[in-house]
Symmetry: C2
DNA sequence: AATATACTACCTATTAGTAGATAGGCAAAT
DNA sequence: ATTTGCCTATCTACTAATAGGTAGTATATT
Protein backbone atom coordinates (compact mmCIF):
# COMPACT_ATOMS: atom_id res chain seq x y z
CA UNK A 1 0.00 0.00 0.00
CA UNK A 2 1.30 3.43 -0.89
CA UNK A 3 1.79 6.10 1.76
CA UNK A 4 -1.07 8.06 0.19
CA UNK A 5 -3.47 5.15 0.55
CA UNK A 6 -2.24 4.58 4.09
CA UNK A 7 -3.06 8.20 4.95
CA UNK A 8 -6.53 7.94 3.40
CA UNK A 9 -7.34 4.72 5.25
CA UNK A 10 -6.14 6.11 8.55
CA UNK A 11 -8.04 9.36 8.11
CA UNK A 12 -11.17 7.35 7.28
CA UNK A 13 -10.74 5.28 10.40
CA UNK A 14 -10.12 8.33 12.59
CA UNK A 15 -13.11 10.27 11.23
CA UNK A 16 -15.39 7.33 11.95
CA UNK A 17 -13.84 6.79 15.37
CA UNK A 18 -13.44 10.31 16.78
CA UNK A 19 -15.13 12.63 14.31
CA UNK A 20 -13.71 14.98 11.70
CA UNK A 21 -12.84 17.82 14.08
CA UNK A 22 -11.19 15.57 16.64
CA UNK A 23 -8.66 13.99 14.34
CA UNK A 24 -5.47 15.79 13.41
CA UNK A 25 -2.59 15.49 11.00
CA UNK A 26 -0.53 14.67 14.07
CA UNK A 27 -2.61 11.54 14.74
CA UNK A 28 -1.79 10.25 11.28
CA UNK A 29 1.80 11.40 11.53
CA UNK A 30 2.40 9.36 14.66
CA UNK A 31 0.52 6.30 13.42
CA UNK A 32 2.41 5.83 10.17
CA UNK A 33 5.69 7.42 11.17
CA UNK A 34 6.00 10.39 8.84
CA UNK A 35 5.95 14.10 9.66
CA UNK A 36 2.76 16.15 9.32
CA UNK A 37 4.41 18.21 6.60
CA UNK A 38 4.73 15.05 4.54
CA UNK A 39 0.98 14.52 4.80
CA UNK A 40 0.48 18.03 3.45
CA UNK A 41 2.60 16.97 0.50
CA UNK A 42 -0.16 14.54 -0.53
CA UNK A 43 -3.10 16.56 0.81
CA UNK A 44 -2.50 20.33 0.88
CA UNK A 45 -5.44 20.89 3.25
CA UNK A 46 -7.52 18.84 5.64
CA UNK A 47 -10.47 19.33 3.29
CA UNK A 48 -8.49 17.73 0.47
CA UNK A 49 -7.93 14.72 2.69
CA UNK A 50 -11.61 14.65 3.69
CA UNK A 51 -12.66 14.66 0.05
CA UNK A 52 -10.28 11.82 -0.76
CA UNK A 53 -11.69 9.76 2.10
CA UNK A 54 -15.23 10.17 0.79
CA UNK A 55 -14.19 9.47 -2.80
CA UNK A 56 -12.40 6.28 -1.74
CA UNK A 57 -15.48 5.00 0.14
CA UNK A 58 -17.66 5.92 -2.83
CA UNK A 59 -15.35 3.99 -5.16
CA UNK A 60 -15.48 0.90 -2.96
CA UNK A 61 -19.23 1.18 -2.62
CA UNK A 62 -19.55 1.30 -6.39
CA UNK A 63 -17.47 -1.84 -6.73
CA UNK A 64 -19.74 -3.61 -4.22
CA UNK A 65 -22.83 -2.56 -6.17
CA UNK A 66 -21.39 -3.98 -9.37
CA UNK A 67 -20.28 -7.21 -7.71
CA UNK A 68 -23.80 -7.77 -6.40
CA UNK A 69 -25.61 -6.67 -9.56
CA UNK A 70 -26.99 -10.10 -10.41
CA UNK A 71 -27.82 -11.12 -6.84
CA UNK A 72 -31.29 -11.17 -5.31
CA UNK A 73 -32.68 -8.16 -3.39
CA UNK A 74 -32.41 -10.22 -0.20
CA UNK A 75 -28.71 -10.87 -0.71
CA UNK A 76 -28.08 -7.27 -1.66
CA UNK A 77 -29.82 -6.01 1.47
CA UNK A 78 -27.96 -8.54 3.60
CA UNK A 79 -24.67 -7.26 2.18
CA UNK A 80 -25.77 -3.70 2.85
CA UNK A 81 -26.37 -4.62 6.49
CA UNK A 82 -23.03 -6.41 6.62
CA UNK A 83 -21.28 -3.12 5.85
CA UNK A 84 -22.71 -1.68 9.06
CA UNK A 85 -22.12 -4.89 11.01
CA UNK A 86 -18.45 -4.45 10.19
CA UNK A 87 -18.58 -0.80 11.31
CA UNK A 88 -20.26 -1.85 14.54
CA UNK A 89 -17.78 -4.58 15.30
CA UNK A 90 -15.00 -2.00 14.87
CA UNK A 91 -16.82 0.26 17.36
CA UNK A 92 -16.90 2.93 14.69
CA UNK A 93 -19.73 4.81 12.99
CA UNK A 94 -20.45 5.35 9.32
CA UNK A 95 -18.79 8.11 7.34
CA UNK A 96 -22.05 9.79 6.37
CA UNK A 97 -23.26 9.96 9.96
CA UNK A 98 -19.95 11.23 11.23
CA UNK A 99 -19.66 13.99 8.66
CA UNK A 100 -23.36 14.87 8.83
CA UNK A 101 -22.83 15.67 12.51
CA UNK A 102 -19.93 17.96 11.63
CA UNK A 103 -21.71 19.24 8.53
CA UNK A 104 -21.86 22.88 9.59
CA UNK A 105 -18.10 22.98 10.13
CA UNK A 106 -16.80 21.37 6.97
CA UNK A 107 -15.77 23.01 3.73
CA UNK A 108 -18.29 23.43 0.93
CA UNK A 109 -16.23 21.12 -1.29
CA UNK A 110 -16.39 18.35 1.35
CA UNK A 111 -20.13 18.93 1.78
CA UNK A 112 -20.70 18.46 -1.94
CA UNK A 113 -18.71 15.24 -2.07
CA UNK A 114 -20.62 13.94 0.94
CA UNK A 115 -23.98 14.76 -0.63
CA UNK A 116 -23.01 12.84 -3.75
CA UNK A 117 -21.99 9.82 -1.65
CA UNK A 118 -25.22 9.89 0.36
CA UNK A 119 -27.23 10.05 -2.84
CA UNK A 120 -25.33 7.07 -4.23
CA UNK A 121 -26.23 5.00 -1.17
CA UNK A 122 -29.83 6.14 -1.21
CA UNK A 123 -30.20 5.31 -4.90
CA UNK A 124 -28.90 1.80 -4.42
CA UNK A 125 -31.12 0.97 -1.46
CA UNK A 126 -34.09 2.43 -3.32
CA UNK A 127 -33.31 0.14 -6.26
CA UNK A 128 -33.04 -2.91 -3.98
CA UNK A 129 -36.41 -2.16 -2.39
CA UNK A 130 -38.06 -1.45 -5.73
CA UNK A 131 -36.86 -4.74 -7.15
CA UNK A 132 -37.81 -6.59 -3.97
CA UNK A 133 -41.31 -5.19 -4.01
CA UNK A 134 -41.83 -5.98 -7.69
CA UNK A 135 -40.81 -9.58 -7.09
CA UNK A 136 -43.03 -9.82 -3.99
CA UNK A 137 -40.05 -10.53 -1.79
CA UNK A 138 -40.45 -7.37 0.24
CA UNK A 139 -43.68 -5.78 1.36
CA UNK A 140 -44.20 -2.23 2.56
CA UNK A 141 -46.87 0.42 2.29
CA UNK A 142 -44.91 3.66 2.23
CA UNK A 143 -43.07 5.38 -0.58
CA UNK A 144 -39.98 3.45 -1.74
CA UNK A 145 -37.51 6.31 -1.35
CA UNK A 146 -38.88 7.04 2.12
CA UNK A 147 -38.56 3.38 3.09
CA UNK A 148 -34.99 3.40 1.82
CA UNK A 149 -34.22 6.46 3.92
CA UNK A 150 -35.76 4.77 6.95
CA UNK A 151 -33.61 1.67 6.58
CA UNK A 152 -30.45 3.72 6.00
CA UNK A 153 -31.43 5.85 9.00
CA UNK A 154 -31.78 2.78 11.16
CA UNK A 155 -28.30 1.63 10.22
CA UNK A 156 -26.71 5.07 10.45
CA UNK A 157 -28.22 5.66 13.87
CA UNK A 158 -27.89 2.23 15.43
CA UNK A 159 -24.10 2.25 15.09
CA UNK A 160 -24.11 5.58 16.93
CA UNK A 161 -26.82 4.79 19.46
CA UNK A 162 -25.57 1.34 20.40
CA UNK A 163 -22.40 3.01 21.69
CA UNK A 164 -24.68 4.21 24.50
CA UNK A 165 -27.16 1.39 24.87
CA UNK A 166 -26.14 -2.12 24.07
CA UNK A 167 -24.02 -3.56 21.32
CA UNK A 168 -26.57 -6.33 20.81
CA UNK A 169 -29.10 -3.73 19.66
CA UNK A 170 -27.46 -3.68 16.25
CA UNK A 171 -28.32 -7.29 15.49
CA UNK A 172 -31.83 -6.88 16.91
CA UNK A 173 -32.57 -3.90 14.67
CA UNK A 174 -31.16 -5.62 11.61
CA UNK A 175 -33.35 -8.67 12.14
CA UNK A 176 -36.40 -6.52 12.86
CA UNK A 177 -36.01 -4.63 9.58
CA UNK A 178 -35.94 -7.90 7.66
CA UNK A 179 -38.96 -9.28 9.54
CA UNK A 180 -40.97 -6.15 8.80
CA UNK A 181 -40.00 -6.18 5.13
CA UNK A 182 -41.15 -9.77 4.80
CA UNK A 183 -44.39 -9.57 6.76
CA UNK A 184 -47.89 -10.08 5.23
CA UNK B 1 -32.31 34.17 32.44
CA UNK B 2 -29.12 33.84 34.49
CA UNK B 3 -25.70 33.89 32.85
CA UNK B 4 -25.26 30.27 33.83
CA UNK B 5 -28.43 29.26 31.99
CA UNK B 6 -27.43 31.39 29.04
CA UNK B 7 -24.13 29.51 28.83
CA UNK B 8 -25.86 26.12 29.04
CA UNK B 9 -28.36 27.01 26.34
CA UNK B 10 -25.69 28.34 24.05
CA UNK B 11 -23.46 25.32 24.58
CA UNK B 12 -26.43 23.08 23.84
CA UNK B 13 -27.14 24.95 20.65
CA UNK B 14 -23.49 24.87 19.55
CA UNK B 15 -23.06 21.16 20.27
CA UNK B 16 -26.12 20.37 18.18
CA UNK B 17 -25.04 22.75 15.43
CA UNK B 18 -21.30 22.11 15.06
CA UNK B 19 -20.50 19.18 17.32
CA UNK B 20 -18.82 18.98 20.71
CA UNK B 21 -15.24 19.27 19.47
CA UNK B 22 -15.94 22.16 17.13
CA UNK B 23 -17.41 24.52 19.72
CA UNK B 24 -15.18 26.48 22.06
CA UNK B 25 -15.44 28.63 25.16
CA UNK B 26 -14.57 31.50 22.83
CA UNK B 27 -17.76 30.92 20.79
CA UNK B 28 -19.82 31.34 23.93
CA UNK B 29 -17.70 34.22 25.15
CA UNK B 30 -18.31 36.21 21.98
CA UNK B 31 -22.00 35.37 21.82
CA UNK B 32 -22.98 36.47 25.29
CA UNK B 33 -20.29 39.09 25.84
CA UNK B 34 -18.29 37.72 28.75
CA UNK B 35 -14.70 36.51 28.86
CA UNK B 36 -13.85 32.83 28.59
CA UNK B 37 -12.42 32.92 32.11
CA UNK B 38 -15.86 33.89 33.36
CA UNK B 39 -17.32 30.78 31.78
CA UNK B 40 -14.76 28.74 33.68
CA UNK B 41 -16.12 30.33 36.86
CA UNK B 42 -19.41 28.52 36.28
CA UNK B 43 -17.98 25.45 34.57
CA UNK B 44 -14.39 24.63 35.56
CA UNK B 45 -13.94 22.31 32.57
CA UNK B 46 -15.57 21.74 29.21
CA UNK B 47 -16.74 18.36 30.50
CA UNK B 48 -18.57 20.08 33.37
CA UNK B 49 -20.38 22.21 30.81
CA UNK B 50 -21.15 19.18 28.68
CA UNK B 51 -22.64 17.37 31.65
CA UNK B 52 -24.80 20.37 32.53
CA UNK B 53 -26.10 20.53 28.97
CA UNK B 54 -27.16 16.89 29.10
CA UNK B 55 -28.70 17.26 32.57
CA UNK B 56 -30.70 20.29 31.47
CA UNK B 57 -32.10 18.43 28.45
CA UNK B 58 -32.87 15.46 30.66
CA UNK B 59 -34.71 17.71 33.10
CA UNK B 60 -36.83 19.25 30.34
CA UNK B 61 -37.51 15.84 28.88
CA UNK B 62 -38.73 14.64 32.24
CA UNK B 63 -41.09 17.61 32.52
CA UNK B 64 -42.50 16.79 29.08
CA UNK B 65 -43.07 13.17 30.09
CA UNK B 66 -45.00 14.26 33.16
CA UNK B 67 -47.04 16.82 31.25
CA UNK B 68 -48.11 14.17 28.78
CA UNK B 69 -48.67 11.41 31.34
CA UNK B 70 -52.45 11.23 30.88
CA UNK B 71 -52.43 11.69 27.11
CA UNK B 72 -52.96 8.92 24.57
CA UNK B 73 -50.02 7.02 23.05
CA UNK B 74 -50.77 8.73 19.75
CA UNK B 75 -50.45 12.20 21.27
CA UNK B 76 -47.32 11.21 23.17
CA UNK B 77 -45.69 9.90 20.03
CA UNK B 78 -46.74 12.99 18.12
CA UNK B 79 -45.11 15.17 20.76
CA UNK B 80 -42.00 13.02 20.61
CA UNK B 81 -41.81 13.65 16.88
CA UNK B 82 -42.41 17.36 17.44
CA UNK B 83 -39.20 17.56 19.46
CA UNK B 84 -37.27 16.45 16.40
CA UNK B 85 -39.35 18.61 14.06
CA UNK B 86 -38.15 21.57 16.09
CA UNK B 87 -34.55 20.35 15.86
CA UNK B 88 -34.91 19.94 12.12
CA UNK B 89 -36.42 23.39 11.60
CA UNK B 90 -33.44 24.84 13.50
CA UNK B 91 -31.13 22.91 11.14
CA UNK B 92 -29.61 21.26 14.17
CA UNK B 93 -29.29 17.64 15.23
CA UNK B 94 -30.21 15.95 18.49
CA UNK B 95 -27.89 15.96 21.49
CA UNK B 96 -27.64 12.18 21.69
CA UNK B 97 -26.67 11.85 18.04
CA UNK B 98 -24.15 14.65 18.25
CA UNK B 99 -22.41 13.30 21.34
CA UNK B 100 -22.63 9.69 20.17
CA UNK B 101 -20.55 10.70 17.16
CA UNK B 102 -17.94 12.27 19.44
CA UNK B 103 -18.31 9.48 21.99
CA UNK B 104 -14.72 8.26 21.80
CA UNK B 105 -13.38 11.74 22.56
CA UNK B 106 -15.50 12.77 25.53
CA UNK B 107 -14.78 12.35 29.21
CA UNK B 108 -16.06 9.28 31.04
CA UNK B 109 -18.29 11.49 33.22
CA UNK B 110 -19.94 12.95 30.12
CA UNK B 111 -20.35 9.48 28.63
CA UNK B 112 -22.15 8.29 31.74
CA UNK B 113 -24.53 11.23 31.76
CA UNK B 114 -25.25 10.69 28.09
CA UNK B 115 -25.99 7.01 28.61
CA UNK B 116 -28.48 7.87 31.34
CA UNK B 117 -30.21 10.38 29.07
CA UNK B 118 -30.40 7.92 26.18
CA UNK B 119 -31.88 5.31 28.51
CA UNK B 120 -34.49 7.81 29.69
CA UNK B 121 -35.60 8.46 26.13
CA UNK B 122 -35.61 4.78 25.25
CA UNK B 123 -37.68 3.92 28.31
CA UNK B 124 -40.32 6.50 27.49
CA UNK B 125 -40.72 5.48 23.87
CA UNK B 126 -40.85 1.84 24.93
CA UNK B 127 -43.67 2.71 27.36
CA UNK B 128 -45.57 4.59 24.66
CA UNK B 129 -45.34 1.66 22.28
CA UNK B 130 -46.28 -0.85 24.97
CA UNK B 131 -49.36 1.12 25.92
CA UNK B 132 -50.24 1.68 22.25
CA UNK B 133 -49.99 -1.99 21.48
CA UNK B 134 -52.06 -3.01 24.51
CA UNK B 135 -54.82 -0.63 23.48
CA UNK B 136 -54.65 -1.84 19.85
CA UNK B 137 -53.72 1.61 18.63
CA UNK B 138 -50.32 0.54 17.35
CA UNK B 139 -49.45 -2.70 15.65
CA UNK B 140 -46.01 -4.21 15.18
CA UNK B 141 -44.48 -7.67 15.20
CA UNK B 142 -41.03 -7.08 16.60
CA UNK B 143 -39.88 -6.69 20.20
CA UNK B 144 -41.11 -3.46 21.82
CA UNK B 145 -37.71 -2.22 22.92
CA UNK B 146 -36.29 -2.93 19.47
CA UNK B 147 -39.18 -1.08 17.83
CA UNK B 148 -38.57 1.87 20.16
CA UNK B 149 -34.91 1.90 19.18
CA UNK B 150 -35.88 1.82 15.53
CA UNK B 151 -38.17 4.83 15.87
CA UNK B 152 -35.61 6.78 17.89
CA UNK B 153 -33.00 5.79 15.32
CA UNK B 154 -35.16 7.10 12.54
CA UNK B 155 -35.49 10.46 14.27
CA UNK B 156 -31.87 10.67 15.37
CA UNK B 157 -30.65 9.88 11.87
CA UNK B 158 -33.13 11.78 9.75
CA UNK B 159 -32.15 15.13 11.30
CA UNK B 160 -28.56 14.31 10.37
CA UNK B 161 -29.20 12.74 6.99
CA UNK B 162 -31.63 15.36 5.74
CA UNK B 163 -28.81 17.90 5.98
CA UNK B 164 -27.45 16.06 2.93
CA UNK B 165 -30.56 14.95 1.14
CA UNK B 166 -33.73 16.97 1.40
CA UNK B 167 -35.33 18.77 4.29
CA UNK B 168 -38.72 17.36 3.28
CA UNK B 169 -37.46 13.88 4.09
CA UNK B 170 -38.05 14.54 7.78
CA UNK B 171 -41.81 14.94 7.37
CA UNK B 172 -41.99 11.96 5.01
CA UNK B 173 -40.26 9.67 7.49
CA UNK B 174 -42.39 10.88 10.37
CA UNK B 175 -45.60 10.14 8.47
CA UNK B 176 -44.30 6.77 7.31
CA UNK B 177 -43.54 5.67 10.87
CA UNK B 178 -47.11 6.48 11.91
CA UNK B 179 -48.59 4.72 8.90
CA UNK B 180 -46.59 1.58 9.62
CA UNK B 181 -47.55 1.64 13.30
CA UNK B 182 -51.22 1.83 12.41
CA UNK B 183 -51.32 -0.72 9.62
CA UNK B 184 -53.31 -4.03 9.81
C1' DA C 1 -17.71 42.34 55.63
C1' DA C 2 -18.57 38.58 52.80
C1' DT C 3 -19.95 36.58 48.59
C1' DA C 4 -20.90 36.34 43.70
C1' DT C 5 -19.54 37.59 39.37
C1' DA C 6 -16.75 39.36 36.39
C1' DC C 7 -12.20 40.95 34.82
C1' DT C 8 -6.91 41.14 33.17
C1' DA C 9 -3.17 38.68 32.14
C1' DC C 10 -1.04 34.75 31.44
C1' DC C 11 0.27 29.69 30.32
C1' DT C 12 1.04 25.51 27.78
C1' DA C 13 -0.36 22.55 24.21
C1' DT C 14 -2.05 21.81 19.87
C1' DT C 15 -3.81 23.04 15.45
C1' DA C 16 -3.48 23.52 10.22
C1' DG C 17 -0.46 25.16 7.21
C1' DT C 18 4.17 27.01 4.86
C1' DA C 19 9.09 27.50 3.27
C1' DG C 20 13.02 25.64 2.16
C1' DA C 21 16.51 21.87 2.37
C1' DT C 22 17.83 17.21 1.34
C1' DA C 23 18.24 12.78 -0.68
C1' DG C 24 17.41 9.29 -4.01
C1' DG C 25 15.82 7.65 -8.42
C1' DC C 26 15.14 8.04 -13.25
C1' DA C 27 15.93 9.60 -17.83
C1' DA C 28 17.61 12.32 -21.37
C1' DA C 29 21.69 14.78 -23.07
C1' DT C 30 26.59 15.00 -23.50
C1' DA D 1 29.58 6.16 -19.14
C1' DT D 2 28.89 10.20 -16.99
C1' DT D 3 26.72 14.25 -16.18
C1' DT D 4 22.77 17.15 -15.83
C1' DG D 5 18.41 18.12 -14.36
C1' DC D 6 13.89 16.95 -12.93
C1' DC D 7 10.59 14.50 -9.95
C1' DT D 8 9.12 12.26 -5.76
C1' DA D 9 9.06 11.91 -1.10
C1' DT D 10 10.57 13.13 2.91
C1' DC D 11 12.67 16.12 6.33
C1' DT D 12 13.63 20.41 9.65
C1' DA D 13 12.05 24.49 11.22
C1' DC D 14 8.85 27.74 11.50
C1' DT D 15 4.30 30.52 11.86
C1' DA D 16 -0.15 32.45 13.39
C1' DA D 17 -4.22 31.11 15.49
C1' DT D 18 -6.78 28.82 18.76
C1' DA D 19 -7.60 25.64 22.43
C1' DG D 20 -8.71 24.76 27.43
C1' DG D 21 -7.35 26.26 31.67
C1' DT D 22 -5.29 29.11 35.90
C1' DA D 23 -4.01 32.93 39.19
C1' DG D 24 -4.93 36.88 40.99
C1' DT D 25 -7.66 41.20 40.97
C1' DA D 26 -11.58 44.35 40.70
C1' DT D 27 -16.40 45.37 41.14
C1' DA D 28 -20.99 44.84 42.50
C1' DT D 29 -24.53 42.83 45.45
C1' DT D 30 -26.29 41.19 49.74
Amino acid sequence: MTTKDEIINLADSLIRDKGYNAFSFNDISKAIGIKTSSIHYYFPTKSDLGISVIKEQSKRFNILIKELADKSPEVKLEEFFNMYAQIKSDNKICLVGSLATDFNTIDKTVKNELKKFAEQILNWVTEILTEGKEKNIFSFQVNVRTKAIMIISNMLAIVQLSRLTNNDDFEAVKKAIIIELKQN
